[in-house]
């Protein structure tokens, strides 16, 4: 090519990459969104929300809730533990005071919700069917009081029950956020799909613990908490791979994503989009570099659409035992 004015040769423009992805009926302008509980209004000054694929709220509960004792976080190597709990002002407060803020952005809003029983979940989901809510993300990694406090998503049966109840309660796209604290995430994924989930988010934090050997006390006020950040990435990538092989709804990868390379790993493993959590604490602009880096990777590797990365792993010649542990 030649510059029409100077008549000097110019490099061809880099090939255009389509960054958009589709999660069920929802088309997102790109594959990157925040993880629930790691995103809020305060980030707007640093990250233009119009650049994100979607916005995801902190989990909201039907009623006012306090959250856990402090300390609520601690570092562990290249990761952190949190036991924030789910402090929440309740759905009414959310609809009245918080939703109007989110509505001022053109980016789809995903509302994360949690409740203590299937019926409470259904009721909450129904109440959230409001203008400005693009999808519901059901945080079913939370304890189910009808099952002795075990999380819904630890078990395919309770997952199916709670998702089915929510499905009947709303026409909004319904995403189920799975827990990594299960021995059989693939079965849980299938149960959620069969019960009517439109997408899966894989995964929430991994239950963990850290002890201060000087004070001999747990480093979290709640004793145990959830591991997030790079340390959990290989585990969550594996779960995305296991889930994507057994469901046909989109899987959204989440866990330790800090760079575009991390996001690519999730997409290749089968994810259709990704959520960035802890990385935003460490580098508030992390999501923006993941967005740019994804397009750059596609350009370099000759993919014309970010969506083409989904499941593009070269594993056809490899034998996979989905359930098999390693050592």
């Amino acid at each position: 090519m030649v510059d029409p004015i100077t008549a000097t040769p110019i490099a061809p423009p880099p090939p255009k990459v389509d960054p958009s992805v589709r999660i069920g009926d929802l088309v997102l302008r790109n594959a990157v969104m925040p993880a629930s509980g790691t995103f809020a209004e305060g980030l707007a000054e640093i990250v233009p929300f119009e650049k994100l694929g979607a916005m995801v709220t902190k989990t909201i509960t039907p009623q006012l809730r306090g959250g856990n004792p402090t300390p609520r976080v601690c570092e562990v190597g290249q990761g952190m533990l949190n036991s924030i709990g789910i402090p929440s002002k309740g759905i009414d407060y959310f609809l009245e005071h918080t939703l109007p803020f989110w509505r001022t952005f053109a980016t789809p809003l995903v509302v994360s919700v949690s409740a203590e029983s299937g019926d409470a979940f259904a009721d909450a989901v129904a109440r959230l069917d409001a203008p400005g809510v693009a999808a519901i993300e059901a945080n079913i990694s939370c304890p189910n009081i009808e099952e002795d406090g075990k999380a819904f998503a630890m078990d395919p049966r309770s997952t199916a029950q709670v998702v089915a109840k929510m499905r009947r309660a709303t026409k909004l796209p319904l995403w189920a956020k799975l827990s990594p604290n299960t021995g059989d995430v693939a079965s849980v994924a299938r149960a959620a799909e069969e019960a009517g989930a439109d997408a899966l988010v894989v995964a929430n934090t991994i239950l963990a613990m850290s002890i201060d050997i000087e004070t001999l006390r747990p480093r979290l006020g709640n004793v145990m908490g959830g591991l997030s950040g790079p340390a959990m990435k290989p585990i969550a990538v594996r779960m995305v791979y296991q889930c994507a092989r057994v469901v046909s709804i989109p899987v959204i990868g989440c866990g330790g994503i800090a760079t575009a390379a991390d996001a690519v790993e999730y997409l290749l493993a089968g994810a259709s989009a990704v959520q960035v959590g802890t990385a935003t604490f460490v580098r508030p602009t992390a999501m923006l570099s993941v967005i740019d880096g994804l397009a750059e990777y596609c350009r370099r590797k000759g993919f014309s659409r970010v969506a083409d990365l989904t499941g593009a792993l070269h594993d056809a010649d490899m034998t996979v035992y989905v359930h098999e542990a390693a050592s």
Binding site: F39, G42, E45, T98, P100, F101, F281, V282
Partner: protein, 294 residues
């Protein structure tokens, strides 16, 4: 504290309301940014405290007294801090584009921070949080700090002076070797009282006497404190008794610094009801009368 002179660089979303997010879009010009500071000086003040000066682009040098930054500490062979570390503004110099910190080396993060060399860069998120405010009509304030808390109060004293408000500064420390920032307070003509553990003068009874005298002689239209639970309780009790409004700068473990993670909550007593607030967004400066001991 009734009407206040606002010394804030502009209200931010989180700071605007302690009860919830505001509706409507945010101001177009960001007053918080994650900028790259360049270390221009970094020295030990004594065995424990380091003094760090950075050149940083705006908005960093627009930070006000009581605000803080969330600093990305470097990694060393031994220490690889994962999260950032919050540090109060020690001095902001918009004219020269400088931001200063004074910190105590306590653990992983500050040990790593202590390794950063002149000329190296460091990401600094800020300015964050709600800074100090001085009640309208105040002619003189009393500040009471201990340890690294003095670092947080020094820019408040200067802000007061700039606004023609007098300062009484009670500086508490273990021994004379660890009193810091005396020159800063002296430079603005503050009435300085140093109280020490080593000679018993830091005893709460003695500090109470000093504060009462300051109040009695009209040198304490407002109280400010930082760095000691015991001194905070003392000032709170006196403030209530003498109807002197006040503010306290609090600390809590932080992850995001931006009001997103809810790890930095502390409890406050608001009209008799206990309420949890995020130190990073609703604070770190709070009304003295609502603070609860930690």
């Amino acid at each position: 504290m009734g009407q206040t002179i606002s010394f804030q660089p502009g209200l931010r979303a989180g700071a605007a309301s302690a009860t919830g997010p505001t509706a409507g879009p945010l101001p177009a010009t960001p007053s918080v940014a994650d900028v790259l500071g360049v270390v221009v000086s970094h020295v030990w003040l004594n065995d424990e405290y380091r003094y760090l000066v950075l050149e940083a682009p705006e908005p960093a040098p627009l930070a006000r007294a009581g605000q803080f930054f969330n600093l990305e500490c470097p990694h060393t062979a031994e220490d690889k801090p994962f999260l950032r570390r919050p540090m109060s503004l020690y001095r902001a110099d918009p004219a020269h584009g400088r931001v200063e910190f004074l910190y105590k080396v306590t653990g992983l993060g500050t040990r790593a921070l202590a390794s950063i060399k002149v000329g190296r860069t460091m990401r600094m998120l800020g300015p964050l949080g709600v800074g100090f405010s001085i009640p309208e009509g105040a002619r003189s304030i009393a500040v009471l700090g201990r340890g690294v808390g003095l670092a947080t109060l020094a820019p408040l004293a200067e802000m007061a002076a700039e606004n023609g408000v007098g300062v009484t500064a009670i500086l508490s420390a273990r021994s004379s070797a660890t009193v810091m920032s005396v020159e800063r307070f002296a430079a603005i003509g503050a009435k300085i009282q140093i109280v020490l553990d080593s000679d018993g003068t830091s005893d709460p009874g003695n500090v109470e006497l000093i504060l009462r005298e300051a109040a009695a002689s009209g040198r304490a239209d407002a109280f400010y404190t930082c760095g000691s639970n015991r001194l905070m309780l003392l000032m709170q009790r006196l403030g209530r008794e003498l109807s002197i409004p006040g503010e306290v700068a609090l600390e809590q473990q932080m992850a995001c610094g931006l009001g997103m993670c809810f790890c930095c909550v502390r409890n406050f007593s608001v009209d008799g009801v206990v309420e949890a607030r995020r130190v990073c967004t609703e604070g770190p400066v709070f009304r003295l009368d609502e603070a609860l001991p930690w």
